[in-house]
Assembly symmetry: C2
Homo-oligomer: 240 residues x 2
């Protein structure tokens, strides 16, 4: 059985303009690896409704789970929920349970649940809410698309909420062999290894330290014994 | 005249598996902003030929310039050059000028130009080489696709080589107003501002420090006087 597949959609002008360095992609990639879900693709699009709708539909068809990040707050540039409703052709309105969550939260802080904040209770029809233990305003899941906040602390809490509900596969195991030779020196034995272990993913990532070339060879797979065998064979082939 | 548009394609299992945090996207986004090129989309795909070919074609049709990162080294997992040739239906082979660059480089370091290293001189037919002042092995441009290395120092040098050859537009100017109130408090005046200044991009990015909510309002545009006017108007509306 192969692992379930996933894609991520990052929504936000602030990433594409170079203002903000995305943190959620790196976090989600690591969590999915541990959970045995294969992240196949990430897309970053701007706060543009047509671009969001097209990306949601393309990714939703291509993989088992889509995780989106960004655009579900109370301000005018938060258009993700409406785009999700449009993508799947469903209605969207303030929902009682989402509203109740916000009411309870703002009651404790003495904050008014004004029209802007109430926007965060607008949920596409048929969605399931995603718990937000950090700042309460919920995310939601429509079909196979999990819609989450962009603020990293909230995003991370929502990822935990979602991963608790989906079946993962076998975690991807990984071993790294550091080789203090240039990539060009080890390419031939690496290529032979990749052929012999076609069930594993074998990547070679070069680096340069103090003028000397080296490479990290990363061997990944779900079968720990196979990963071990490949690492041992490579070390022998390179006479390490 | 609107600015030229761009997209980025990051190629690499190491990003999607959570092993490596991408640095090139953030770098390129900042450089393109300064150069007056609008980055519309980023995609990250794995070292999978079909995925790479499909993404290259989709992005190449959608924008003026595509920048790729990763997969042009000497090892078996470096398949980007072949994918680009396949995407555009052109041949690929070792090219004399690219080979000469490698020969000259390896002669100075006393390194053998073996079969693996020679792979880095395989260039799709009709391409233009991209200068690599860091480690010599060149990138290349086919049609509107600029193919560059994934190692950040090399990627950055190649971006400089490419940007020197393409006409930018008007740099995107940006001003940030920090507001120590929750997003929900300022959403209404922000929305009115966004309507009055539809030519600008107005984003609201919440944060939480020591339990207090705040937001950075970022106002972006190519016309500095308009950006100034919007910032002034917002500060007045919020009585800052």
């Amino acid at each position: 059985m192969s692992n379930p597949t996933a894609a991520m959609l990052v929504i936000g002008d602030e990433i594409l303009s170079g203002r903000t360095r995305d943190a959620n992609m790196y976090y989600l990639a690591g969590e999915l690896s541990k959970h045995g879900v294969d992240l196949k693709e990430v897309r970053v699009v701007s706060d543009d409704a047509d671009a969001i709708v097209a990306a949601v539909l393309a990714l939703s068809e291509a993989v088992d789970h889509v995780f989106t990040s960004g655009g579900i707050g109370p301000t005018h540039d938060d258009i993700t929920a409406d785009c999700i409703a449009r993508a799947f052709g469903v209605g969207i309105d303030v929902r009682a349970d989402a509203r109740a969550i916000l009411e309870a939260h703002y009651a404790t802080t003495g904050t008014e649940l004004n029209a802007a904040r109430l926007r965060m209770a607008r949920i596409p029809d048929g969605a399931t809410l995603i718990d937000n233990p950090v700042s309460r305003a919920p995310g939601f899941t429509v079909k196979n698309v999990h819609v989450m906040a962009g603020v990293p602390s909230v995003f991370q809490a929502m990822v935990a909420s979602v991963l608790a509900t989906i079946s993962g596969g076998q975690p991807l195991l990984s071993q790294t062999l550091r080789v203090d030779r240039g990539e060009g020196e080890i390419a031939a034995p690496l290529s032979a290894l990749a052929e012999a272990y076609a069930d594993l993913s074998i990547g070679c990532y070069p680096f340069q330290v103090n003028g000397a070339y080296g490479a990290n060879v990363v061997i990944r797979g779900t079968d720990g014994a196979r990963v071990d065998a490949a690492v041992t064979e490579l070390a022998k082939a390179l006479a390490l």
